[in-house]
Amino acid sequence: MRLAPAVTTLALVLSLAPLSGQQPPPPAAPPAQPSDISLTLSQEGGRRIALAVPPATAPASDVVQSELVDPFHKTLAGDLGTSPWFVLADPSLHPKGFRPPTTREEGDAWIASGAQFLLDTQIRSEGTNVIVAAQLLDLRTLRPILAKTYSAGGASIRRVAHVIANDIVRQFTGKPGPFLTRIVFSSDRDGGRNKELYIMDYDGENQRRITFHRSLSIAPDWSYDGDKVVYQSFVSTPPGLHWFSLGAPARTRIPVTTELNSAPSFSPDGKTVTYAGSVKGNPEIFVVGLDGSNPRRLTNSSAIDSSPRFSPNGREIAFTSNRQGSPQIYLMDLEGSNVRKLTLTGNWSDEPAFSPDGGRLAYACRNEGDFQICILDLTTGRTVQISSGPGANENPSWSPDGTRIAWELQRGRSTQIVSAGIDGSGFKVLTSAGNNGYPVWQRTTE
């Protein structure tokens, strides 16, 4: 059960209006990673909101500390600390006590730690239930702009932390963060040369296997409503396009007459997929119904055509082709006409991924050396590289709120899934068991 905010000071929210509904501004240059908070602050021109997130207060108990307070704090600070809207005040500068601050002097002690706002939380038990009270205080006025009580019920304390983090982001931006979303990916952790599909929370927690083919299961995509996953399976020959509904046991193969059958991707309405199919040894872009109906070939080139993705409005498809020499990303309409080249730099571009609003394209880019992750602004034509350093970066995917990218990073013989803000800040490694790749972010925020 959630209670409505006890107090909301609307004027203070309005004073933050410049942030409302906007994406974080792109940085002037690719930042170094992992992120450096002070560097990020200066790059953002101080536009991030300085937030103090001290550990929740709770009854003194070892069990409460290890089972509730610690995982709750790790999750909440992890969510808000990697959010592009906030910078967390240095915990070592937090004043002792003053929870919440009730006098001007106590408030100034929190402000001295570098915070504009304090997220004050309390954890308590009521019978077998866990209750979390949270309030977000403006330290200038000492008045809460958000106050809510959360009942964990059967949910984990981590989930409660994600819900609170979403509420905090929604308070400032009008939209939730990505904290309750999940990522589907492919992993070889089960041994042999097989890969199976897995799902994890956006922060790498709760990793669990969802295919059991004992074969290669790769290149998944998630339907826009979050219900279905489609992927390329080598369980039969030729490899096929398989899909399933989450929570349902059936794995269905889309009947197609093509070979190859790689990189399937859902249309926004979930009724069709686009994929790369081979006809007489020539990979082309196709669209086909989930039941195999109405297959349509969209490209007709002797070159390689691969890696198709629907635009979020469903009217266009981005794909990769070497028709003019090196692999580059092109855009065409749903009839296969009006083909134009999108990536004009570098010697190899592949794996296009549209931002949720369709305005930008993330992709694996290479000029020399290793692949990096680039973001192309489709309006201005400007490209920003968000990854850096050694290792090959591939297969980017956007969080549904458009603030983060997950991708796979190969360093040496280890390939892992990482994520970062679209300015490269807040870099996190999400996997460690075996090798992990082809991450695709759920497209719904909750």
């Binding site: 040369r193 890969k195 059991f212 083919h213 004992r214 074969s215 290669l216 790769i218 290149a219 390329q232 369980v235 039969s236 020959t237 030729p238 490899p239 096929g240 398989h242 046991p249 059936a250 794995r251 269905t252 193969r253 009947p255 197609v256 070979e259 190859l260 790689s262 990189a263 790369a276 081979s278 007489k280 040894g281 020539n282 990979p283 195999g292 390689i304 055509d305 691969s306 890696s307 990769t320 070497n322 090196s326 692999p327 190899w348 592949d350 794996e351 694996a364 692949f371 090959a392 591939e394 297969n395 190969q410 040496g412 013989r413 790749g437 082809y438």
Partner: protein
Amino acid sequence: MMKPFRSVGLLLAAGLLVTAGCCTKKPAPAPAPEVKVAEPTPVPVPVPTEAPIAAPVPDVVETLPADLAELNKKGYLKDVFFDYDQYDIRADQRDVMAGNAEWLRKWPTVKLQVEGHCDERGSNKYNMALGDKRANATRDYLVSLGIDASRVTTISYGEERPFVEGQDESAWSQNRRGHFVITAK
């Protein structure tokens, strides 16, 4: 290359073998399903079948291992290698392909799958398509040397199944290959 056992006695024995073979010869089996489905997977796809092909009798005494896994370990068919981001059969690979075609002519009942592989330097999704091009270029080259197209299927593994681990040109050049797997004999 002449085989050392072409003696009169062996030729006689070969005649016996051929005779014996003719009497027990069964129609060429349909391609065995080599797929192990690990879980119930409703597959509404009709399995393509090929018309049985009468197997001509080999005119030599050599026999192939009965077990396909053993047969494939023999390495009768040699891998063909490709240049970076290319899928044409290189000039220096033509002798290898000619040798493969010669062996396949000698064993006309053998069926095979050509696997197209790529090194890890390219991107995953493009490489999956590039491997398809390589496998099919290899198949087409065999067909141009007189091998019946119906004997050869193709599959791309992209960069999913490297033969050699390593991040140098030595490893990469070995991973850009067309690899032959005998699926029926």
